[in-house]
Symmetry: C2
Subunit: 339 residues, 2 copies
């Protein structure tokens, strides 16, 4: 434990948790403890770093599946159906809903609500929604921490549901092992939007509500788009589901299994984990530098000063960065920083 | 000029520009120089910071308008029409197209192409598309730098066109003075998506293609949504336009003027500029910490080491952060960093 750690623990209000006890309860699979632990990382509370470090398991055992796609594609119903399937084999399933329009967090229709209710009362399923706007914009780091928590609690599968729009959400999707992109027949222009971000990192395509008109055309559109890319080793399959009736879910589980086997067969899983770790560390570094710059109102007083003196943004950033370095080494704060 | 500056200048390959000469040519309004200058900041080339600092004017004189909305709303046509209107009064107009589906960057229909062509040959209009994916994810900083460049080149109006989806793009929208949100009749579910991010920062709503069916309903929907918010001082107007026929553009210019007057009437413009500066400085700080951590492959060798030793991400970030501090102060690199 070095000086830096205590520095970052001192940022913000310190609600003190007995983190060792909380970690022990999480490891035992206590749902209330898990919920409290996720709140800890979601709020980026002072002790969240030490807490995650306590729980962290380098070789994640849980299988983490991301389910992403536009609002209205039926992601929540698909996730509920998938969870139900996985439960049949006795697997423990954790669900993290990032999507603000998720049925898990609100917009469920009557039929969905019944399905959701079954999941909510199942002791083998943990469901949690994550706020899409952290004060620090730390959605991706918080979700990755939450995955670590569920992994420590020995969930076999962790499903992360997200709209997948925005850098923060794309970062979330990049941190799962298998990316399922859900779409629906007759998307039209939406495909354009999908292409822009998530398309290239999807491992499995699902056309949900496949009993609707236009499904064949959507299959062809997707095939055409997939055909334009050179796929190394794994070509994403295109599946048709009607999640509300449970149709096609078995196929989805099968393809998720195949994808997992493919990941493990070569160097792919190792490479993916390395990329994920890199992205995660970079996001933590960004949090760190902002937290340190904001400390003791350093950022605000520097801004006030800059506005008085007409300093350019790079000049301000340079001064603040010197301040970050000074704080971290115990060197005197540069002259004028709090003037 | 301190040690940090030269540090950040040493990141990446150093294509050497005579930045003083380039800055002088930009100030004279030379289009080729402006284009080259924007490439410099877009590539985050080593000298871009010094270059922006040379050009930076604290009290920006240009009026910066952001035009945002979903693909297909006709943003580019609206921007072209708006630019044409502004040209009638002799104003110099700079256009930055961030939107990958923008007509300025590709997807123009025949009619649009003619309009675009007129703009491209007008010596009072500068058009430039910005890449949506920088290697460093520095879209917002690069766009803000480009605005500084156009401001230094004495453009009266700067119009920034963007889809407004994703943290990076929302950051871009947050850096303009007046946000115009373009939508079209019969949006339906899309409104949901708009609500999620941009809605609360829009200053003017435009329903484009207002000759289409469903326009009244879209007006009512927007009115209802606007009615749910308490607006302090400025209530966003809802305008109807048919940009392809030039209809409603006069009203848009008028409302943009009104909004500007409102901004200048109280403390609003000062507050907005402060918020913008804060966001911009924070993004520069994030760039700085990542650039420093990546220096000399520090991040990669630390990742390799962590994967061998099973270090958790917060532990890695802490080590790297110590490394950043060491590099910035000339202290010895922590033991084992490049082992």
């Amino acid at each position: 434990m070095n000086a830096l750690r205590s520095l970052f623990n001192s940022v913000g209000e310190p609600p003190r948790y007995p983190i060792e006890a909380l970690a022990a309860a999480v490891r035992e699979g206590n749902f209330r403890a898990i919920g409290r632990a996720i709140s800890l990382v979601e709020n980026r509370a002072p002790q969240h770093q030490d807490f995650v470090r306590l729980l962290y398991v380098p070789a994640r055992q849980a299988r983490v599946v991301g389910v992403t796609g536009p609002p209205g594609a039926g992601k929540s119903t698909l996730v509920a159906g998938l969870a139900g399937r996985l439960r049949e084999s006795g697997a423990k399933v954790g669900i993290l809903a990032i999507d603000p329009t998720s049925s898990f967090t609100g917009g469920a229709l009557l039929g969905d609500r019944v399905r959701m209710h079954q999941l909510y009362t199942d002791p083998g399923v943990f469901i949690r929604s994550m706020a899409t706007r952290g004060a620090m914009g730390g959605l991706a780091p918080a979700t990755q921490d939450a995955v670590d928590i569920l992994n420590a609690a020995r969930f076999d599968w962790i499903i992360v549901e997200t709209v997948g729009v925005g850098q923060d959400e794309v970062d979330v999707v990049r941190s799962v092992d298998t990316v399922v992109l859900v779409t629906l027949p007759g998307l039209g222009d939406d495909i354009q939007a999908i292409k822009a971000g998530i398309m290239e990192i999807a491992d499995i395509f699902v056309i949900n509500k496949a009993d609707r008109e236009g499904v064949d055309r959507t299959v062809r559109d997707l095939q055409m788009m997939l055909g334009m890319t050179e796929w190394a080793g794994w070509t994403p399959p295109i599946l048709k589901t009607v999640a509300s009736r449970g149709e096609g879910l078995e196929g989805l589980v099968k393809e998720a299994d195949s994808h997992r086997r493919w990941l493990e067969s070569g160097n792919e899983l190792v490479q993916r984990r390395r990329d994920q770790l890199r992205l995660r560390v970079e996001n933590i570094l960004k949090e760190k530098v902002l937290n340190t710059a904001r400390r003791d109102d350093g950022l605000d007083s520097e801004l006030d000063r800059a506005l008085r003196e007409g300093t350019d943004p790079y000049g301000i950033a340079e001064r603040l960065f010197s301040g970050v370095v000074a704080v971290s080494t115990g060197m005197p704060i540069p002259q004028g920083r709090s003037s």
